[in-house]
């Protein structure tokens, strides 16, 4: 990253160094003023009093609210991950199938689940399960959240599988076919194992999305962290501190996941299990517009990530 940043400017001389130092100082001052303004505003509304923050030091808030909330969030996310990987694997292989009657339905499903907002799918699943008594009523909200997350992220994983396989050099499948493997065997024993390695970092990053989106469960009354934050707020009259604490929990977990994703990516690159290397971030971002965009943006020399 540092190499691509320094590309825009020379090593600063004495005058620039002074200028940069002044600008740095100014930005620190501006930031301090903004923070002071926010704190002052919070203080003015009595949000910084010990009474509002003390509850987070008591065991009760943690055992009764935050930890159950966290468990709710993680349960929904974990179930969705497993189901999404399964669904995504099937749809992804389906999209790569040589049989048109498998390929087309898979394509349509993936495009559909990607285009429809997760919230709509959650609401629909929730109502559907409630209306037709498909799920015990105490599991209704969880089932709704999991369904929405699974369908959307399954489509994303399917897209990742496809870009993973496409990122492999053509020689891989040509060689496999040349030694007499069938299409299915080529996919199973040559392409997929390498594709999985290539897309592993992207899948770990997708966990962040799943974890964040599980907060949508708030809307269908699923008992997760955000809902618990609101309950703490109502109970102790400290809504803003509760939201800040919950946001901090999300940020810490998601940052850890991002760090893991980076580590996995570095490892994949170093060990080179996939002939095409790990998927580059822009290969993933542009998965929706697939080949067109990756052709449009040839890897420049500054293309390190």
């Amino acid at each position: 990253m540092s190499s691509e940043v320094t590309v825009l400017f020379d090593a600063p001389g004495p005058r620039s160094r002074r200028l940069y130092r002044i600008m740095g100082l100014v930005s620190v001052v501006v930031l301090a003023v903004v923070i002071w303004f926010v704190l002052d505003k919070l203080n003015e509304k009595g949000q910084l009093t010990a009474a509002k923050w003390k509850p987070f030091l008591t065991g009760e808030i943690w055992t009764e609210y935050l930890i159950p909330g966290l468990i709710g969030t993680i349960t929904a996310a974990a179930i969705s991950v497993v189901l999404a990987l399964t669904l995504g694997g099937l749809l992804g292989v389906g999209r790569l199938s040589h049989a048109a009657w498998i390929r087309w339905p898979s394509n349509v499903l993936v495009e559909f689940f990607r285009a429809v907002p997760v919230l709509l799918m959650m609401l629909f699943a929730y109502k559907l399960y409630a209306e037709y008594d498909l799920v015990p009523s105490d599991r209704l909200a969880l089932a709704g959240v999991v369904t929405g997350l699974t369908l959307y992220n399954g489509a994303v994983v399917a897209e990742l599988v496809r870009s993973g396989v496409h990122s492999l050099p053509k020689g891989q499948s040509e060689a496999a076919l040349a030694v007499g493997l069938t299409q299915g065997q080529t996919m199973r024993s040559v392409l997929l194992p390498q594709a999985v390695t290539a897309m592993l970092p992207a899948i770990v990053s997708q966990l962040v999305v799943i974890l964040k989106d599980s907060a949508l469960g708030y809307i269908i009354t699923y008992e997760e962290l955000l809902r618990k934050a609101e309950q703490i707020g109502n109970y102790k009259a400290n809504l803003i501190p509760a939201f800040i604490v919950v946001a901090a929990i999300f940020i810490v977990i998601n940052s850890l996941l991002s760090i893991v994703a980076n580590k996995v990516e570095q490892r994949t690159r170093r060990r080179g299990h996939a002939a095409g290397g790990p998927l580059k971030p822009d290969q993933i971002d542009q998965a929706a517009v697939a080949a067109a965009a990756s052709m449009a943006a040839p890897a420049g020399p500054a293309h390190s990530s």
Binding site: E4, V5, V7, L8, F9, P12, S16, Y20, M23, G24, L25, S27, L31, L42, K45, Q47, F112, A115, V116, P117, V118, L119, L120, L123, F124, K127, L128, E131, K212, D213, A215, L216, Y218, I219, L226, E230, G233, L239, I240, F243, A247, F250, I251, N254, S255, S258, P281, D282, D285, Q286, A288, V289, A292, A293, A296, A297, G300, P301, A302, H303
Partner: protein
């Protein structure tokens, strides 16, 4: 299927999608402004600015959008009394919630815009910035005349994806009562549970119609505007 005319008569389907579109477009403008600023900070030669930019992206990207939007309403408005509309107007609550939702969506989406632009900056070959410096352009001119124009063109495809995600994310605004598509869908499903599938189909198709052309437009644009090298 034959219930669709009835449903369209009983509920203002198109008004809901109009709100979704307004919400998306206004937030897109807000996100583009904040996001560009953050992206510039992240590539600037001043270390403090880079840190602030990186901190913004890390903090906002890892926070659930639902939390941000609920906070805009319960925290900013109800607890702190931040008001974005005229209190005396009789549509005060509606307008205020709409603007708070735009604020939340802009702040959230800005972090993704900043990342998209940074990936756009990465598509600009080193030689471009080196040549600019060689003819004596200072940082700001290198950025505004040489790098950013190419970066925007290189970032069109990822920016298109951000816009599509924003369109879908705008549904979260229903959590603070903005009467956009998902709120109407919920209302319709509450009142007409007999036609759940038809209602879901209508809204799903509505979103496909919104996002599919956006995707195609941005793919076409990115192909047309890409800097040929």
């Amino acid at each position: 299927m034959d219930q669709i005319p009835d449903l369209l008569r009983d509920y203002d389907f198109f008004a809901a999608f109009r709100t979704t579109i307004y919400l998306t477009l206004l937030s897109a403008v807000g996100a583009l402004i904040i996001g560009t600023t953050v992206a510039i900070m992240r590539v600037s030669p001043v270390a403090t600015l880079r840190t602030i930019g990186a901190a913004y992206v890390t903090l906002v990207r890892n926070t659930p959008l639902t939390l941000l939007i609920v906070f805009c309403n319960l925290g900013l408005f109800i607890q702190l009394g931040v008001v974005l509309a005229d209190k005396n107007s009789n549509t005060f609550i509606t307008t205020n919630n709409f603007r708070l939702a735009v604020l939340g969506l802009s702040i959230y989406t800005a972090s993704f815009v900043a990342e998209a632009l940074r990936s756009g900056v990465n598509t600009v070959p080193v030689g471009q910035a080196e040549a600019a410096r060689a003819i004596g352009l200072p940082f700001v001119k290198t950025l505004t005349y040489i790098v950013l124009p190419q970066a925007f063109r290189g970032a069109i495809a990822p920016l298109g994806n951000v816009l599509i995600a924003l369109t879908k994310n705008s549904t979260v605004a229903s959590v603070i009562g903005v009467s956009e598509a998902s709120l109407l869908m919920k209302e319709m499903m509450d009142e007409r549970p007999d036609v759940l599938f038809v209602i879901f189909g209508m809204f799903a198709v509505g979103f496909v119609i919104l996002t599919l052309p956006t995707g195609m437009l941005f793919t076409a644009l990115s192909k047309r505007l890409v800097v040929k090298r």
